[in-house]
């Protein structure tokens, strides 16, 4: 029975191909737009999330702050106030997973005929934990390297490529500011940071080496910043509070006076970026859904015209024994077939469009099964919803009135 009605609906659609096609087009564009917009939106979201993941999770950065001396405020970072001992004290606090005191600087390095200038970060082995940074080859330096300030280095990928090309850097000796350093390992690629810098253009050395042998330091034992990783996102507010208290105590800052350091929650900043991307993705989807709705209204419009135009046909069908349900089913099936086929073509166009966008602009796109299934469900629902009223209208006709309709 349902197959016979399916055949009748199909035949009716084939009888007016241009109209069927135009009706379908509304659906095609609607579904295509939703899929494309979701793909682009989720692509952007994924990019932001990848950047965040490359930064490390549950992160704080403590920066040297303004020192006030005799009423003169010196501005942030002017004087290094944080020390390695501060870092060690923070490590003792509850819920702190890892602490990485860091002293960055810039230096020229040479290997064979190649030379390259880059950022050198003096830090501890836990820096790799905090930043969630793996080694592609080799092995990291250890606490004993920190204690004896050995001349060893880990190279970022960009640096390794520029100095060594295809050669294997591990075990080779490079010169940084004319001192010889043994390359222990090469860091895995991290790509761009949120602000667009190449994170792989970095060399990591032990913090003591950086302070004593590479850059020297006005104030021995001080560092420019300390990165702190909390054990969990939930623990972050408590860790922030206890770090503030601890450092104020250690730096002997009176109640009411400004701190000489700043604690920043990097994860909060990153989450804001992620939320922005998510909102954008939702908005794109919502705007595209409007076109889906318009497509659905198009179906209803055409179905209403079609019911009026085919009143006589409905009358004939009723006269030879079609009951209301048969007529309802036929018109409803027509609407559903139009929306489902439109949806299939729309999925094809949306996926194709997303791939073209990806090829043409390099924008990352993510096509999920979820978004395809969602468009399908929405399209079928729209078909039923907007097909229902015209189908009801057709089914409710009196046979004699429908048959007499001119």
């Amino acid at each position: 029975m349902i197959w016979a009605m399916f055949g009748e609906a199909w035949a009716a659609m084939g009888a007016n191909r241009l109209r069927t096609f135009l009706t379908m087009l509304g659906m095609v564009i609607g579904v295509g737009a939703v899929i494309l917009m979701l793909a682009v939106g989720q692509g952007a979201q994924q990019q932001v999330q990848a950047s965040i993941a490359s930064m490390g999770s549950n992160l704080f950065i403590i920066l040297s702050g303004s020192v006030t001396s005799g009423g003169v405020r010196m501005g942030g970072g002017a004087t290094p106030t944080l020390t390695l001992l501060d870092a060690q004290a923070i490590e003792e606090l509850p819920s702190v997973a890892a602490v990485a005191p860091s002293s960055p600087g810039t230096a020229q390095m040479v290997y064979g005929p190649n030379n390259w200038s880059t950022q050198v970060i003096g830090t501890t082995p836990s820096f790799l934990t905090v930043r969630d940074w793996r080694l592609e080859e080799g092995f990291p330096f250890t606490d004993s390297d920190i204690r004896s300030a050995t001349r060893v280095a880990l190279l970022g990928r960009t640096v390794a490529q520029n100095l060594f090309g295809d050669e294997d850097p591990v075990g080779k000796t490079i010169r940084i500011k004319n001192g010889p350093y043994v390359v222990l390992g090469v860091l895995a690629g991290k790509g761009q940071s949120l602000d667009g810098r190449d994170q792989d253009d970095t060399v990591i050395v032990p913090v003591t080496t950086a302070q004593r042998k590479l850059f020297g330091s006005q104030f021995v034992g001080t560092v420019r910043f300390i990165m702190v990783q909390a054990e969990s996102a939930e623990a972050m507010p408590a860790v922030e509070k206890s770090m503030n208290e601890l450092l104020r105590q250690r730096h002997r800052i009176r109640d009411g006076a400004d701190s000489d350091f700043t604690v920043r929650n990097l994860t909060a900043v990153a989450n804001t970026a992620a939320e922005t991307a998510e909102v954008m993705s939702l908005m794109l989807g919502a705007i595209a859904s409007v076109s889906l709705l318009v497509g659905g209204i198009g179906i209803m419009n055409i179905m209403l015209v079609s019911v009026t135009e085919r009143t006589r046909e409905i009358g004939i069908r009723m006269a030879i024994g079609a009951c209301g349900r048969d007529i309802l089913l036929q018109f409803l099936l027509e609407a559903i077939i139009i929306s489902v086929i439109g949806c299939l073509i729309g999925v094809g166009l949306g996926v194709g469009g997303a791939l073209i966008v990806n090829k043409a602009s390099g924008m990352s796109v993510v096509i999920t099964i979820g978004s395809i299934v969602m468009s399908f469900v929405v399209a079928a629902t729209v078909g039923i919803f907007f097909g229902w009223y015209p189908a009801r209208k057709a089914a409710g006709m009196k046979p004699i009135d429908a048959l007499r309709y001119q």
């Binding site: 029975m1 035949a11 009358g315 004939i316 069908r317 024994g321 048969d326």
Partner: protein, 241 residues
């Protein structure tokens, strides 16, 4: 033979218009036995089309009773009426009323869809009926590719496909020329004589009505004559001379 297919008592029908109710049928009484060939005649406005629509369960009476095959039509709902139209009655209309976009074969098979017959059986039955009306070779044509007389034969095949007890033909020759009309009427007479199908025919042409055995003449919503055709022909001739 004595079994009554149609039994109508005190049938009234009013149409509601802006000017108030307009009575069209004013207490019609009629019974039709199985196997009869009946012609209903009457001038325009006599109510014969309305009567036919009620007989065909396309319209319902305002009051009075209509038993079709012993079932009280007035008490049936829309779906049950549809089933009656599908299985007990076969319609033949003046304007043929074929679906223009469907093939001849599909047109004939259409009533079987609503009966839930499987496709293979539908097509087989449709082709049997087409053979019966002499159009087996045209099964893949469209209605607009064949002549009016052939279209009416298709409509008759469609009316026959569910093996109804009763065929209702509303001015079946109204759109056809004289020669074709005779062929169509000969087909009806054959169906009545050979297959014993009860036929009720509405016409305003007396040379069409002569194919029937019994005549019912309507005037102003009432039956003014009900009897054998021979006498009626005489009275008809008198009235027209």
């Amino acid at each position: 033979m004595a079994e009554e297919v149609i039994l109508i008592e005190r049938l009234y029908k009013e149409y509601l218009t802006d000017a108030g109710p307009v009575p069209v049928l004013k207490g019609v009484q009629m019974s039709v036995s199985s196997g009869e060939f009946l012609a209903i005649m009457g001038p325009s406005g006599s109510g014969k089309s309305t009567f036919m629509n009620i007989l065909g369960c396309l319209d319902v009476a305002t009051s009075g009773s209509y038993l079709l095959n012993g079932r009280d039509v007035g008490s049936l709902d829309r779906d049950e009426l549809a089933r009656l139209r599908n299985q007990v009655i076969g319609f033949v209309f003046q304007g043929f009323n074929l679906l223009p976009r469907a093939s001849i074969e599909d047109n004939v098979a259409l009533p079987l869809i609503y009966r839930g017959t499987p496709r293979a059986e539908r097509l087989q039955l449709a082709n049997e009926m087409l053979a019966k009306v002499g159009l087996a070779s045209h099964r893949n044509s469209r209605p607009n590719q064949i002549s009016g007389g052939q279209q009416q034969r298709v409509a008759i095949a469609r009316a026959l496909v569910n093996r109804p007890q009763l065929i209702l033909a509303d001015e079946p020759t109204g759109n056809l020329d004289t020669a074709t009309s005779k062929e169509i009427m000969a087909l009806f007479a054959e169906l009545n004589a050979r297959d014993g199908i009860t036929i009720v025919l509405v016409t305003h042409e007396s040379d069409i009505a002569v194919y029937a055995q019994r005549l019912v003449r309507l005037a102003d919503g009432r039956i003014v004559y009900d009897g054998p055709l021979a006498n009626a022909a005489a009275t008809h001739l008198e009235s027209t001379v």
